[in-house]
Assembly symmetry: C2
Homo-oligomer: 356 residues x 2
Amino acid sequence: MTAAGTTAALVTRPANVRYLAAAAPQGSALLLGKREDLLVCTGPPEDRHEGRPDESLRLHVLPSNGAGAGGDAAVAAADLATAQGADSLAVEEHHLTVARHRAIASVAPGLRLGDLGGAVEQLRVVKDEEEISCLRIGAEIADQALGELLESILVGRTERHLALELERRLVDHGADGPAFATSVATGPNSGRRGHRPTDRRVEEGDFLTVCLGATYRGYRCEIGRTFVIGTSPADWQIELYDLVFAAQRAGRESLAPGAAYRDVDRAARHVLDSAGYAEALPPLTGHGVGLEIDEDPQLAPASMGKLDACVPVTVEPGVHLPGRGGVRIDDTLVVRPEADGGPELLTITTKELLAL
Amino acid sequence: MTAAGTTAALVTRPANVRYLAAAAPQGSALLLGKREDLLVCTGPPEDRHEGRPDESLRLHVLPSNGAGAGGDAAVAAADLATAQGADSLAVEEHHLTVARHRAIASVAPGLRLGDLGGAVEQLRVVKDEEEISCLRIGAEIADQALGELLESILVGRTERHLALELERRLVDHGADGPAFATSVATGPNSGRRGHRPTDRRVEEGDFLTVCLGATYRGYRCEIGRTFVIGTSPADWQIELYDLVFAAQRAGRESLAPGAAYRDVDRAARHVLDSAGYAEALPPLTGHGVGLEIDEDPQLAPASMGKLDACVPVTVEPGVHLPGRGGVRIDDTLVVRPEADGGPELLTITTKELLAL
């Protein structure tokens, strides 16, 4: 608010509301007011997946007929800011639509509207130990789900079935749900970032890339592994795997407080680059995780900034060769100083090339 | 564009892009330009779930380094609109964020920006027979998944497991995926709209409310049923069920071309109201379905407008008694004139009160 020059702020992006209020009931907005802070909800908060609102926070539940604000918590919150005597309000312009922004301006014409920008997102980058502990439990759950899948018969099953099976296992082991749409990629699809499962069936000789994560108390982690189906991988598969493994290790080993985001990216990217895969490279080789699966920082060539201790990030280089498939290896780690043992690996499933 | 007084329009809401372009690759934007229409994508479209772009449409794939527009297809499209000689551009102010709107204004300072409003959403209300056929197949899939669940043992299983099981069955039967998060509600949770599954287990004597839907080629349908667990329902359960059934039937029977949205709502609501459940009533008793699960029209007390033929809607009244549970019955139907046999029921699972 100081930076935006306003006396009050309105937080609407759900993960930001959740971070500051410990809960984000659907459609809620958080007013950081001149006199007091209010969590404005369209109904009584009751869903355990959305957390329990911080007890120091006053709840303001809109009447169910939505009177006065068209049922929009942000618009109602702007009205409440005025009632508290605020003359200006910083809003999240990267989240509010033009239409909602206009509705706020119209219900509170006396308020000067400013931009809160990514201020809350920046607060979220460094995690406390309680947050890291949620990520650690989520990673254990994902490791368990993946481990069980590897013990089952895979040949002949479709990508979609394997993905659904993994999601069921995540919930079995206590996850709120998957952290993102589970990706299972076989044969020519393997190694593709964010591949959506198809009806293709696992075949002997395939590469199989699996990327999944658990949400635990709102916190989202990520693990990705590539396996080979059948008894002995082909030479090209071993070579490609070793290369991506080396790139991923280089990225992991460069994680340290003070390391530039782009240097971590470069460490991983350089290994692939010098082996001639510059064209096949992804736009980033890792990113922050937390209440969202893809949050700051971005580990990418043009990213500005340096890592701090207690920042959880993924390191996930991959190579996909169109028509043939590829390899992707993805871990979630927490940046720690060398005195504390260096980066803490949360996702501990083996990164040996397993033949399943 | 005529209404907005502009020479070009930019469509960004994904379901609207999909409707007009037959595909909506992630992050894409559709420019209805002065000289030609362009589907602007951040990468080559390849995902079958997102459809195949209309062949008459020119694709414009942004360079992967995102040069010039920060990788934002909407910003790039505004630039392309200028290059085509447009002097004004209607945008979807209810979808674009303030920050993206500003980025568009900044990359194309010569463009006067107007508001396209809900113009595309309005085009989407009446469906053609191809769209209805996708909804019909989706409804068949949902009926099948639900039917199989009813044949299995339910007592002792958790809401979350039953929901995951239903979603797996939807995919088994050919759905792209669930149309929305499957809701399974037992005992005191039963009858709650949009209940998110918990770890509560099904018990003898429970009401069990299940609400699910399939997405088929992008189109989303919805079915909801309430059952009783055990051999003989209690008297209060039979009474409540009969009441909600009567309300739902009244809603269904009032569906006709020319019927006011709010009269359909009133038909269903009146039955519950006059039985003394005014307080427990939901804000709406039905809504349109299509490329989104909740689209126009809203069947609610304050809705303005009248039904047309070939509009698919849900009719889904319910009563939830806090601490006891409740009943919800939900169908997807297509409005048809009486000469064509009246409303077409897509979700055909029985609405008798089954004891499972």
